[in-house]
Structure formats: C-alpha cells, structure tokens
Symmetry: C2
Subunit: 213 residues, 2 copies
C-alpha cells in the first residue's frame, strides 16, 4: 500500500497502541473501541481514530475493532511482524542492564552481539553473551544483516561509535549517551535520556510549587 | 516572570539546549550563536531563536549568546538550578543500573532511597544504598520533600506503585514499566520505553528496505 506522508508523532504513537492491544489480547478480549483504547491511554478517542485513519479502515462504525486484527495490522505497519537483529555497543553498567532486558527479545529485537573496546572486558561473559572487541563489529553487522544499533557508551565515545555503526550499514540508532548525533539522511536516531525527562518535568512541578522562573 | 503558555514540545527541547551549552562551557567557550547550537543539534537556528523567545531575550542581534548566562537562565527556567530528591522503586536489574547511573546526581537529581517489596532484597546493599521496604516509602517521601519518583518495577506492579507514589505526594513520575499511567491533574508522567523507540524506527527502516506495509 502506498500512503501519504504520516506525521512522525503519529508513527510514534503506534507502539503505544500496539502495547495496549497486546494487553487486551492477554486479557482474552476480542473486540475493543477507540473509546476504550483512549481511556486506557489518556488520549481522546477522536485522536486514536484519526491516527489509525492514516493507515486504512480497521473497524466498523458501531462494532469497534477486532483486537487481534488491529494488533496484527499495526505490527505489519511498523514492520515488527518480523525479527530485527540488533548490536549493543558498551558493556558497562548500562550495557549489562540492556543485555539482560528481556523485553527486547520478547518483541523480536534480538541482540546478536555485545561489543566494547575495553581489553579487560573483551572475552568476558555478559549474561548469555561474550563481550566482543570492536574489530569484530563489522563482520557481525554484515553477516547478520543488522540494521539497528544500541549505543550504551560514555558521551565522549558515542559520536565515534555512531559514525562507525553508520559506516557499517546501521540505519537505526538507539542512543543512551547524552549527546546529539547528527546522522546522514536515511539514518534514524532515537534517544533515551532519563535526565532530560526529569528536567522536563521539573519545569512544571517547580512552577506548580510556586517557584519563580 | 509571568509568561504565556509555552508548548510542551518547546519545554522538552530545553534540556537538550542545556546539555549542549554545558558541553560548550566545558570546551571553554564564552559566546555561541543560534546557528552553532542548531548545527550541533540538527535543529534550525530559527527554531532555536523561536523556542528561546518564549522565555525572554537572551542574546543581542549580531553578538550571539553568552554561553554561561544562557545556560544559567535555562537552568532557572527548568527549575534545575536546585537539588531534587528522587525515590527509586524497583531493585531488579534495571533498578541496579539506575542506582548506579551517575548522571542523576551530576544533574542534581539525588536518589534518596531505593525501595522494593521483595523480602529477599530488603536490607541488602545496592551500591551506596540499602534497599528498603515499601513500608518506609511514605516516611522518606514526606521527610525529604520528594516530588519525583522513578518506577523500575515489572509492568504488572507498576500501576499500583504509581498510585502509591501519587498518594504520598509525588508529582513527577519517570516510568520505565511498559504501561501507560493515567495520572490525576497536576501529576506529570514521562516514559522510558526502548522497545517503543526501536519499533518507531522500524517503521522507517523497514520502509526504506522496500518492505510492504
């Protein structure tokens, strides 16, 4: 299906819809409505209908959505009805937590290698992985057709790691380092920055506490 | 200063501006421009000027911004020119990584307690903390004037933990569990969901790989 440009903010909500649909399925539910989805997500039902309308017709007026069908369609739209191989760069505290994070594999994002440049770490086990040197990165990416990389190295190293990953053909970077990565066209970057999220909330709760700003 | 409503998306960019200004300061820079900030962040200089204009006049036409002054002003606007006490709920793999995450304290978000409901964990050390039972949570929140909580418990427990935190006076939740929290007015929730971020990127890179959707 060829479709018109979908706003990125709409694409960003699809994983949230997918998640709630999976919870409904797990509860044994067969039919849902934009009203129910909205209530569970704190989003208006009109917004949900509008978001989904970018991708087609998924429900009938008055009968709601078939939970499994809508779930399957959103998986297909997001291209997550398939496995994605992922490399993880950085085997520090954060890399350890990510290597153990079962939700990646549960959602078909399979970490196929953990890499670090620290000679003291290379060759050591990390969960079910053995930490590899960066000199093995290119081969793993090419042989396993990896398109996604997770950056869990310190800020000072992150830009070079990103460049290396992009050179080797990675087109989606999940960056945990607190730096902005300027990527070439065709490469996507998403950020995980808990400090920025706390600062974002401090803006509001400082205000509500009556502090000047 | 009383100011008009600022769009949330603009507020969300302030932490990013703050970060790059801190890097510039660390590099010994005294003056910068919206052009330079934009180049470093992949944002247009016009966008940066427009964002900052919501909060006042921070630079002079032709002379740019004083890095330290602008940094200080953004810290003040975000209310992060002060310490915030934070409680961390959940002492599993993720809780461990978060308890060791030095960027919280570096940015004046001070974890004052790590809590879990698992009797096998309570009383055990976790980095510089001793894991406490949930029965101690209310007292810590009240005595240390905690307004922020980090939820690092499994999805099945997260909603109840959120409710408890809100009951005890927390008004900002950083939620790592893969569920949506419907919070009352006055309570902010931000989400950290790496799976949703990977799914978001899969939409694009699946498409660019020529897959149907």
């Amino acid at each position: 299906m060829i479709r018109a440009h979908v706003p990125d903010i709409v694409v960003g909500r699809l994983p949230i819809y997918l998640r709630v649909l999976n919870y409904l399925l797990a509860e044994g539910r067969q039919i849902t409505s934009s009203q129910e989805l909205g209530d569970r997500l704190g989003i208006s039902s009109a917004q949900i209908r509008k978001d989904l309308s970018h991708f087609g017709e998924f429900g009938k007026q008055g009968t709601g959505y078939d939970v499994r069908y809508l779930r399957d369609q959103i998986e297909r739209i997001l291209h997550v009805d398939r496995d994605w191989n992922v490399v993880l760069i950085g085997a520090g505290d954060l890399g350890h937590a990510l290597a153990h994070y079962h939700r990646f594999a549960e959602n078909r994002f399979n970490i196929v290698g953990v890499f670090d440049n620290d000679p003291n770490k290379i060759g050591k086990p990390l969960g079910k992985f053995v930490i590899r040197g960066m000199d093995e990165l290119e081969q793993v990416i090419r042989e396993q057709n990896v398109k996604m990389g997770i950056i869990a190295v310190p800020a000072a190293a992150a830009r070079e790691v990103a460049r290396t990953l992009i050179d080797y053909g990675i087109t989606a970077l999940l960056n945990y380092a607190p730096i902005t990565i300027i990527a070439p066209v065709g490469v996507r970057v998403q950020y995980i920055d808990p400090v920025a999220r706390l600062q974002h909330m401090a803006y509001y709760i400082g205000k509500e506490n009556g502090e000047e700003s």
